[in-house]
């Protein structure tokens, strides 16, 4: 008999339990092996404290049958996260906030007699602009003397990418795409400036010495290491030390591609407002629940969707624009918006064991509406993507599409063509409409006042 559930392919490392889906609903099975820890977690005040402070997703205990009854203690129905994102898609401050959340949760856990047993960046998601832990089974009963098993993972998942982004190059966060369990510390140590290895600074200890110790003790059994015993005070020192190492790490966007786009563009304030109004009315025609704004820059037009209560992803290739977007979102306590760093010419692929631990960007769709404003010329001209291929991608990603066509007469396109031969015969309004007619029906078309540009609303063909 086929099972009536589907186990999450990303949920297999921790024997405490796992995620499964049955009839479209997401559940978490808690296994017997985790029973004592789960009971203490729920009755000892830690769950309440974490959920009340918005640090952990809430859940309810469900009466649905467990997926694997022979292992099961309980079945939970967790609060659903609108969109699963990954650390290699986060801007600098998103990674930093996720790291600080992890440390705060660890500290709070210890207060309540529980120890955070891992420190995976993949246990953090963003809801309404705030990082939140999603793994309800991450805490074990604290036993006097225990060291922190999550220490190495924390350094690899959080400290190394933040240090590299801050002190070397923001693009190094992309190493998280290559190394699924975080950036190897010996690699981080090699890439960091030599001065970070000197003295007893946090980076000297947690990255450089840590890397050396890992090499030195790589083949030593942990039975001997178990002679390490740490008091509660020592654990708190460790959490504090990591926080003090992370707090001063900063990244100020400068010199990247699009950070100052809206200042450099030829749009006047009035034209931007007019464009926003048209985009808003096209969104209302499509009436979506979910939207992806691709090439969103700092999310100016993404907010036309999110402020209408539509769960919106604002993706951009430029980490500076996404950083700016995230900081604005955080400052304004806005809802329904998630800025992410995504290079559309090479979007996040499926990663991990059996290609199934982390979903590709497209596999996390489709959504109701794809928005591509002032994007098409970057795909078609800078990256040579044929227009019908652009249309096919948008049709795979969403049911509706709002697309801005930017003609060759536009100064931004002129700029792109200034340094290369114009081999794009089909790049004009007629060619664009023809390419999109393959996958979409044209629902509305509106010229943007004060520019040569046109906004289109398409609906995917049935």
């Amino acid at each position: 008999m086929n099972p009536d559930f589907e186990r999450s392919s990303a949920s297999f490392r921790d024997p405490s339990g796992f995620i499964f889906r049955r009839e479209g609903t997401l559940y978490r099975q808690v296994n017997q092996v985790y029973r004592a820890a789960y009971d203490k977690f729920m009755t000892g005040g830690l769950y309440d404290a974490l959920v009340k402070s918005g640090m952990l997703i809430a859940h309810s205990e469900s009466t649905t049958a467990p997926a694997l009854p022979e292992l099961a203690y309980k079945v939970l129905q967790p609060q659903v996260v609108p969109f699963i994102s990954y650390p290699y898609e986060w801007s600098f401050s998103q990674i930093k906030d996720a790291a600080l959340l992890t440390l705060s949760a660890a500290r709070l856990g210890l207060e309540k007699g529980m120890l955070l047993k891992d420190a995976s960046a993949y246990n953090v998601q963003f809801i309404n602009g705030k990082p939140i832990l999603i793994d309800t089974l991450s805490f074990d009963n604290y036993k006097e003397g225990a060291a922190w098993d999550g220490y190495r993972q924390f350094c690899q998942h959080f400290l190394a990418p933040l240090a590299l982004a801050s002190l070397v190059d923001i693009r190094l966060t992309q190493l998280l795409r290559v190394y699924i369990d975080g950036i190897p510390l010996d690699l981080a140590a090699q890439l960091l400036p030599g001065k970070t290895a000197i003295g007893l600074s946090g980076l000297a200890l947690h990255i450089h010495l840590h890397a050396r110790a890992q090499k030195q003790y790589a083949d030593k059994p942990s039975a001997q290491a178990s002679a390490v015993q740490m008091s509660k005070g020592a654990l708190l020192n460790l959490f504090n030390s990591l926080e003090k190492t992370i707090q001063p790490l900063k990244w100020e966007p400068k010199g990247t591609e699009w950070g100052a786009y809206y200042q450099a563009t030829n749009y006047s304030d009035d034209a931007l407002k007019a464009k926003g109004a048209i985009v808003g009315s096209l969104i209302e025609q499509a009436a979506p629940n979910t939207a992806w704004d691709l090439g969103a820059n700092n999310g100016l037009f993404s907010r036309e969707a999110s402020r209408r209560g539509i769960e919106t992803i604002a993706s951009d290739i430029d980490p500076a624009a996404v950083e700016q977007d995230y900081l604005a979102l955080k400052a304004g306590s806005e809802q329904h918006l998630l800025p992410l760093v995504i290079d559309l010419t090479n979007p996040s692929s499926a990663l991990g064991w059996a290609h199934a631990e982390r979903d590709s960007f497209l596999d996390r769709g489709p959504v109701d509406l794809v928005m591509a404003l002032a994007l098409i010329h970057h795909l078609a001209i800078s990256n040579n993507v044929p227009l019908d291929s652009v249309a096919q991608f948008f049709a795979a990603a969403g049911k509706w599409a709002i697309v801005e066509f930017v003609p060759k007469s536009d100064s931004q396109v002129k700029r792109l063509l200034a340094t290369r031969k114009d081999i794009f015969d089909q790049y004009n309004e007629a060619g664009f409409e023809k390419a999109f007619a393959g996958c979409f029906d044209l629902m509305a078309k509106e010229a943007i006042p004060g520019s040569d540009r046109t906004l289109y609303l398409f609906r995917r063909k049935a």
Partner: protein
């Protein structure tokens, strides 16, 4: 009692990582550290010497491994 700590834990904490967290917690906080065997290792590690483990006591020999 040490081995009890690892029984249910699914992450390999890594011997080197354990050593460094002990060191970091001690150096940066200065309080509340207890290491039975590892101070010898820390000394040897920092001096780049080869570490010679102390002989276990009779009591420790009788403990089951798992």
């Amino acid at each position: 009692m040490g081995f009890i700590l690892f029984k249910l834990n699914y992450l390999d904490p890594g011997s080197g990582s354990l050593l460094v967290q002990l060191l970091a917690a001690g150096l940066l906080g200065g309080l509340g550290i207890l290491a039975k065997v590892f101070w010898g290792r820390i000394r040897a590690f920092l001096k780049g010497e080869k570490y010679v483990p102390p002989q276990p006591t009779e009591e420790e020999k009788e403990k089951p491994e798992e």
